[in-house]
């Protein structure tokens, strides 16, 4: 037994399937890797699929892969916006395919799907994430403490815990970093996601590594490269105030002596 919302053309429940089936066209940027026979060129491919009211871009991509062209390649896992696998450029904006409902995208026009920018494309919508994770690892993304551990938990007030709540939500999807014009032109820039994760520890009352992290981010490829264009904040699928976090790190650099 399975409850199905999409067969419910629900008059009394506007949310559940009020939008019946419709057709959408996906215009997808494709790239097939070099198999030794010379450097391949990226190209555009179009597919039209039938969608339902609650379908997301990920559902449409799956439909293409499962029913039309099995070679279409993209990453995905959780399918509800918590694992960070499927950040892509959808109609020119970075979003998670699994969190973007088709009905919210104006299905009368083709939906343009491209890989995120600034990272090397491996195949179709899959990019090499290693440079992104390398920056993350560099800011020492782990709790740093000195002295003996307490017997029980470290104490932290609810207010202290609240201070860094926002930046603990990061799922490392790279939507922010790959929407940043500074990162596009200078791949060495740490990028917003690494700074968000540094923020998560710098403002944690239990952490004692703030000075070291601030020093790393004071580097010429660090926070000062940020030009506050807010692309990152707009792109973040977790609703993290990324630009604000970067500003707070900048301020900490000025006010905290290290």
């Amino acid at each position: 037994m399975t409850a199905t919302l999409d067969r419910a053309a629900a008059p009394q429940n506007a949310a559940a399937g009020a939008i019946p089936s419709f057709d959408v066209t996906l215009k997808i940027r494709r790239y097939l890797p070099d198999d030794g026979a010379g450097a391949p060129e990226p190209y555009w491919d179009e597919f039209t699929v039938r969608a339902h009211g609650t379908d997301r871009v990920l559902d449409a991509l799956h439909k293409v892969k499962w029913e039309e062209d099995g070679s279409l390649t993209f990453r995905r896992s959780c399918a509800h916006g918590v694992c960070g696998s499927d950040a892509m450029r959808i109609n020119g904006r970075n979003r998670l395919a699994c969190k973007t409902l088709l009905k919210d995208l104006d299905p009368s026009k083709p939906i343009i799907v491209e890989p995120i920018k600034g990272l090397p494309v491996i195949k179709d919508l899959v990019v090499d994430m290693e440079p992104f994770f390398a920056s993350y690892r560099e800011i020492m993304p782990f709790l740093i403490t000195t002295g003996n551990e307490p017997t029980k938990e470290r104490l932290q007030s609810a207010e202290q815990r609240e201070r860094f709540d926002d930046t603990t939500k990061c799922i490392l999807c790279a939507a922010c970093t790959s929407s940043c014009p500074v990162f596009w032109t200078d791949g060495q820039y740490f990028g917003p996601a690494a700074i968000v994760n540094a923020h998560r520890f710098i403002f944690d009352s239990r952490d004692e590594g703030g000075a070291q992290r601030l020093e790393i981010l004071n580097d010429k490829e660090g926070v000062w490269r940020c030009r506050t264009t807010f692309n990152c904040t707009e792109a973040c699928p977790r609703g993290i105030e990324v630009t604000k976090a970067i500003q707070e790190v900048k301020r900490a650099m000025i006010t905290r002596a290290f």
Binding site: M1, W66, S77, G84
Partner: protein, 616 residues
Amino acid sequence: MQTHQYDVVIVGAGGAGMRAALESSTRVRTAVISKLYPTRSHTGAAQGGMCAALANVEEDNWEWHTFDTVKGGDYLVDQDAAEVMAKEAIDAVLDLEKMGLPFNRTPEGKIDQRRFGGHTRNHGEAAVRRSCYAADRTGHMILQTLYQQCVKNDVEFFNEFYVLDLLVDHDLAAGHVPDGEEVNVSGVVAYELATGEIHVFQAKSVVLATGGAGKIYKTTSNAHTLTGDGMALAYRRGIPLEDMEFFQFHPTGLAGLGILLSEAARGEGGILRNSEGERFMERYAPTIKDLAPRDIVARSMANEVREGRGAGPNKDYVLLDLTHLEPAHIDAKLPDITEFARTYLGIEPYTEPVPVYPTAHYAMGGIPTNIEAEVLRNSTDVIRGLYAAGEVACVSVHGSNRLGTNSLLDINVFGKRAGISAAAYASTASFVELPENPAATVVAGLEEIRTRPDGDRVADIRKALQETMDLNAQVFRTSESLTQALEDIKALHKRFRRVSVQDKSKMFNTDLLEAVELGFLLDIAETVVVGALNRDESRGGHFREDFPDRDDKNYMRHTMAYRRPLPVKGHRLWGTDGDGDHKGSFAHTTVFDDYQLVLGSKPVTMTRYQPMERKY
């Protein structure tokens, strides 16, 4: 082909795998192989919490926790394992806090705790606050924190590598190996997604931590990648799978989608209502109502729908009502799940009740282990060097029904134990010789699928499997429905032999890997259905309408599902010399095209608690 040599190889980088890695990598040379980048693992989707009797907000102790776990599992729990877990829970939570996990806090600055289904004070008197949590993203914070510690400790990962075979010196699925004879693990074979290259890892110890198998069902809270790989790899080598018929259906999946809304919603005061607005759980579990264990709540919901009291245009779901809670309280405690309702159904939980229906959630069964996380090949013999922990394993702390918050606990407690045991064994053992041509089976299998010009589509077979499982092996089961499911699975196995993929390339061929994963799903589904068909009783997550009562006399034992070769005329029949306890209610064999599934059983370990009727 590349070959590697490590003392310990851990397969899976979810909570269990990384917790094991933190122990093992500081002791011996360790590699972690994962088909996903570690932070993509489904542990990150866990919401509600991880329980431990810290007694930070009210009186509590580990013995009450053990009792709740045993009773929650309808007495099919191995009580020694439950006791270990409840005792070590306290340190497991404190360990995570010390690693930096941002738990919610009490006014005194201690780790805050909240209520969760089935967790009670003093053996069932009333709900107790035992779940430690970080808003409704506890799993996310556990996964991030463990990964952070792995970065700190420079743990070596092989990411986007799929393990496709388990290497042992005696293939138990190929021929008879007498009880008591030594069987050793020698390594694994993996496939590198980016290049299509094969890697053979020789290891003294292997830890399987590949998570669950929810994708055998259509409506599920599980990720697309939860395809039961580790269970299937073990099963294909003749290692038994334990209690596979017990699959948990979580009451509150978003209707039609299966996306989970944590039990924390009810822990924080949410109420389930039928189309008449009635709080129907008062009828089914008068004492703890909406916070009864999941199997009971899921069945009650399905029953309301069957009896015509479902809500919505098709009367096929019930409603989770949060509208009486303060919006500020919801924002502080349940921000993510209320956002799911808004994003995916367009429902505003402040003012509207949310449509929900049970969703396939958790495999209670898995690879049998003892409390040291060593894998068992029958009721008593271990496979030397092989360990399993997390959802892939069955220790069995969950019995026939897992309590909420006990899995994040399980992965931490037994993940840690697996890491310690694997490293300890590796530091004394020597490498076992690899079989000749260790990757031959994997390479042949992959090439066959990749190069088959045309045939059946992966998606079609998978959809047919998921639909028959949803229809015939879900919350309510009968001999008839399960027989149908088994027939369907056999037919799908045949179609799978003709499966073909469209992507013929070698690099990043996810089309090919989806086909391989489908093979795993079919194997897992057959063990679930055969186990369910044989168990003529109702217990925990397994409810047979034709046998609605628990039958301790015949079924108070763990089911063990063994893959064995087809009988050859004149050879001994498997099970005839008593191996695997293939007798009594478990003397059951199902013949497939190339092998047979032979059931056996394993006794339940009882220490303090005698089975009682389970009432809430």
